[in-house]
């Protein structure tokens, strides 16, 4: 479990997501996944091509995805960012997805589907 890449199409189906940006490449391979509301953690630990699950709908979550070369962002619990944030994501070609699930359930669903975790395990 937790060692494969998953297509964006499959991720959207698993999280029952609504796609918020236009012209999304659903065939994109998502390499790994991390969940955080702390953008400095995302910048420090997430890898290029990974998927971010977050409750932070501020435009800074999109800026963070841009700087860290993330694949896409899924917002939890039906949260939807404002038009300014969506426009920024559109401009930067970062797919935004809204899911009805909370962070814990969604992480569980994607982990069960085998998507590789990106955050380091610190023992």
């Amino acid at each position: 479990m937790g060692n494969r890449t998953v297509k964006l199409q499959e991720i959207v189906e698993i999280v029952e997501g609504t796609i918020l940006t236009e012209r999304v490449n659903m065939d994109l391979d998502v390499l790994s996944c991390g969940a955080s509301d702390l953008m400095s953690d995302v910048l420090a630990f997430m890898k290029p091509g990974s998927l971010l699950l977050t409750g932070l709908i501020h435009p800074q979550s999109i800026r963070t995805a841009e700087m860290a070369d993330l694949a896409a962002i899924v917002f939890v619990r039906g949260k939807t960012p404002g038009l300014e944030a969506i426009a920024l994501a559109q401009e930067l070609n970062i797919p935004l997805i809204a899911s009805p699930y909370g962070m814990y359930e969604m992480s569980g669903l994607l982990y069960k589907a085998g998507l590789t975790p990106v955050m380091p395990v610190v023992k």
Binding site: R23, L43, A44, T64, E66, M67, D69, N93
Partner: protein
């Protein structure tokens, strides 16, 4: 950059290219009184498979090679075009994008669309082949323009020769302007991409510059400035502000230490990780500050991964910026 999702150039063009750029102008028109026999000659001579039918400058129908074949089969070759033409006319506007034409081709299963201007006048005709040809031409034009400009940007340091060439990019950062946070770093990231830097290096520059930019927004009384100096081998990023200054630099550098207010923390920053993140990305970093004065942060990142201290023989640290 390779990991950032992108829709293809074709998809982009289908949405952006106006129909008038791909349609056939100088359309061969026929009158409704033309006979089908005459039509056969018109189609053959002009090597076309159909034509709009126009009467007194008004579009009244379309006639195609299929209509001609049916007339031949039924022995009705002497009939006027008026009798055999299709009056159901599917039109698109010349200023609409190619995607609108693609949708109509799919919806109506017709071989050609009539292109009209705002006042409904016929300005051209469009077939599937015209779209394919137009897209291919647009792609090759775009490709060349992009290639040339990328080539020029990448070779800027070879083209402009001096004993020491550097390119300086300055960005002003406004205090407390959280919504615009990252704008400067975004521009810097794009500039490095155009200049042909390695994606891994671009990412390290972007992340460290972004954290430094957020620090200016969050902490500096009057905002500050990001000065990025690019040389063929190395990038130096300096951020400068004029206060309030840091009373204890060592404490500020320790992981988890933060003086950011709560509203910043609610926005995903201010967890005392910014400087640590910068240090992780940089080959060299120096923070100088005095309470009541200003703060200067210097970051050095080597542009060629092989030039970093990890792989250089003596494990040499890069020189401190002046």
């Amino acid at each position: 950059m390779a990991q950032v999702p992108k829709f293809t150039k074709i998809q982009e063009l289908i949405y952006e290219l106006p129909i008038e750029r791909v349609m056939k102008k100088n359309v061969v028109q026929v009158s409704p009184d033309t006979t089908m026999t005459e039509l056969k000659e018109i189609l053959r001579v002009n090597r076309i498979s159909g034509a709009p039918v126009v009467e007194e400058a008004r579009l009244v129908g379309v006639i195609s090679i299929e209509d001609l074949i049916k007339a031949l089969v039924e022995g009705d070759i002497q009939a006027p075009v008026r009798k055999r033409m299709t009056t159901q006319m599917i039109t698109v506007r010349q200023d609409e994008s190619v995607i609108e034409a693609v949708k109509k081709f799919t919806q109506y299963k017709v071989g050609r669309l009539l292109v009209v201007n705002e006042s409904g006048g016929l300005t051209g005709i469009l077939t599937g082949g015209d779209i394919t040809r137009g897209l291919l031409e647009a792609i090759s034009l775009d490709y060349h323009a992009e290639e040339i400009s990328r080539y020029r940007a990448k070779h800027i340091f070879e083209d402009i020769v001096s004993d020491q060439t550097s390119l300086i990019l300055r960005y002003k950062v406004k205090a407390k302007d959280f919504n615009s946070g990252g704008r400067a770093s975004s521009k810097l990231k794009r500039a490095l991409d155009r200049l042909g830097a390695v994606p891994e290096v671009i990412r390290r520059v972007a992340i460290s510059s972004y954290e430094a930019e957020m620090n200016l927004i969050i902490h500096a009384d009057e905002g500050g400035e990001i000065i990025a100096e690019l040389q063929p081998e190395v990038m130096r990023i300096t951020t400068i502000d004029h206060g309030p200054g840091i009373p204890d630099v060592k404490e500020a550098m320790s992981l988890g230490f933060s003086t950011a207010p709560n509203w910043i923390r609610e926005l995903g920053f201010g967890a005392g990780m910014g400087l640590a993140n910068i240090k992780r990305c940089a080959d060299f970093m120096k923070l100088e500050s005095k309470a009541g004065a200003g703060t200067q942060l210097d970051i050095v990142i080597y542009l060629r991964p092989e030039a970093t201290d990890e792989t250089s023989p003596q494990g040499e640290k890069p020189q401190e910026p002046a």
